[in-house]
């Protein structure tokens, strides 16, 4: 260990799913002005360090790029984070996810003498990703619900099963968001003439109230939507313009938004 060699710790911020090139820096305080290279002591868990030659830097690997006197430039490497990885923002629920690595300055010309390791912090900032909604089927047949539509399989309130003919239970709807529960989303569920009910056990996880009149919340923007219903036997006529594909196309053009319609993603220019 050569105390005259110094590896300088640093911190960098990078956006999710983006790579960043940066310099590892060090110094030789002995006055010998030795050329330095950097050796990886630990590597980041959620990404790769790649040197200028395109080689992934593992533990104890040296950077290809040399850092010469007066050491102002450093040794260039690249960080490529894992897909959809981010560690900022963090929440109590999600916890703090570290993404750092340690390195030491090495003088190859002087018997690979090494400095004390320094820590390089990497903060990967979340970029909002669209959620993925999966429906197990696209078509289902049920029997009309009426006072006489009692199901032979004892289909009644609070006892709804997938066997209920009078009610359609849409099981296995999966929602995945790589961003996790960081940001809130707006959900719109509607049908033409049916009644829709959410899982009553988890209605406390929904917010129908605070967004029922959004003009009071946000005066800067024109409110395009408001929360409706209460999650139980709600009826909403879907024949409004919003659900027509033509209207969706209009939104695509006007908001330059990324939309996913029936599983096909398209980007508006």
């Amino acid at each position: 260990m050569d105390v005259s060699l110094i590896a300088i710790e640093g911190e960098l911020k990078v956006l999710e799913d983006e790579e960043i090139s940066f310099y590892l820096k060090g110094n030789d305080t002995s006055g010998l002005n030795r050329t330095l290279r950097f050796q990886m002591k630990t590597i980041p868990r959620h990404g790769d360090l790649i040197d200028v030659n395109g080689r992934i830097l593992g533990i104890n690997k040296l950077t290809s790029d040399e850092c010469s006197f007066p050491y102002d430039k450093g040794s260039l490497i690249k960080f490529v984070g894992k897909k959809d990885f981010f560690n900022e923002p963090y929440s109590l629920e999600r916890g703090f996810i570290e993404s750092n690595f340690t390195f030491a300055a090495v003088a190859p010309s002087d018997g690979y003498k090494s400095s004390y390791p320094a820590r390089q912090e990497i903060k990967v900032i979340n970029i909002n990703d669209p959620p993925v909604l999966t429906l197990p089927y696209t078509e289902k047949t049920i029997h009309a619900f009426s006072s006489l539509s009692w199901d032979p399989d004892d289909c009644r309130e609070g006892f709804a099963t997938s066997k209920c003919k009078s009610r359609m239970i849409t099981d296995e709807i999966k929602v995945n968001d790589v961003d996790g529960n960081i940001d809130f989303v707006r959900v719109n569920i509607s049908s033409s003439h049916g009644m829709l009910s959410l899982n009553s056990e988890y209605l406390n996880k929904t917010d129908f109230a605070s967004c029922s009149n959004r003009t009071q919340i946000d005066l800067e923007e024109e409110a395009m939507w408001h929360c409706k219903g209460g999650g139980n036997s709600d009826r909403e006529v879907s024949s409004n313009l919003f659900y027509s594909r033509r209207y969706l196309f209009k939104i695509l053009i006007s908001t330059k938004a990324l939309y996913s319609i029936d599983g096909i993603y398209s980007t508006a220019s």
Partner: protein, 238 residues
């Protein structure tokens, strides 16, 4: 319905999402999730408010646009075949109970209650008839007793007439006069008088033509005539 939720919570919220329809026909359920900022998504203000309230730290999420995911589910709503339902014999207990109750109520109100009312009415009618009979019987008895009374009155009149004739004979024979008190005009007083002396009158009639002492009160100021009369009356009744 439109609401705000956290994306991963939707796995629980949409678990067993229930659809019911009263209308027969084709329907489509749309599930749309809007994630991002502005327009159809939450505004930046709303994101910031919720970001702070959820104790998030560090650099907030960068929302570049408003993204949406729309999924549709076609539903074919068919009419329930009622006969098939009844024929299935698998009706739930509640419906069975409800049907039984309805039938019971129907039968109760249409058959049993009217029958009971009819029976009660009939009973009352028969009671009224019995009362009427009794009344009639009572009135017959009354009539009989009245007839008997009339008969007795007639009898008494006859006896009275007999007595009067006796008295008039005795009067004519004595030449005196009989007190007006003996001249009964009122039938009631008659009857009361006769009631007391009914037997005595019978015995009087049997004594007709016999010589017997009968005390006769004669009010007069002619003492000579009185002596003759008393004598005559003492010895004979005509």
């Amino acid at each position: 319905m439109v609401f705000i939720a956290l994306p991963l919570d939707l796995n629980y919220i949409l678990l067993n999402l229930t659809y019911e329809s009263l209308e027969v026909g084709d329907d489509t359920i749309f599930i749309a999730i809007y994630d991002g900022e502005g327009g159809e998504c939450l505004s930046s203000t709303e994101h910031t408010q919720r970001y702070r309230s959820n104790m998030h730290m560090g650099t907030p999420t960068i929302h570049r646009h408003c993204t949406s995911v729309v999924r549709s589910l076609s539903v074919k709503v068919e009419k329930y075949e009622v006969p098939e339902l009844w024929a299935s014999r698998k009706l739930p207990l509640q419906l069975k109970i409800a049907c039984t109750f309805a039938v019971t109520v129907f039968v109760l109100f249409t058959v049993i209650l009217p029958f009971m009312r009819w029976r009660n009415a009939r009973k009352e009618l028969s009671t009224i008839q019995v009362r009427g009979k009794k009344r009639r019987m009572k009135s017959t008895t009354k009539r009989t007793s009245a007839r008997a009374a009339q008969r007795s009155v007639r009898k008494r009149r006859k006896k009275r007439k007999t007595l009067e004739s006796i008295l008039s004979r005795s009067e004519s024979s004595s030449g005196g006069f009989v007190s007006d008190d003996d001249d009964y005009s009122d039938e009631d007083s008659y009857s009361s008088e006769y009631d007391e002396s009914d037997e005595s009158f019978d015995s009087l009639s049997s004594l007709e033509g016999q010589e017997i002492e009968i005390p006769v009160v004669v009010i007069t100021n002619n003492f000579d005539e009185l002596q003759d009369c008393s004598y005559d009356a003492k010895n004979r009744i005509v």
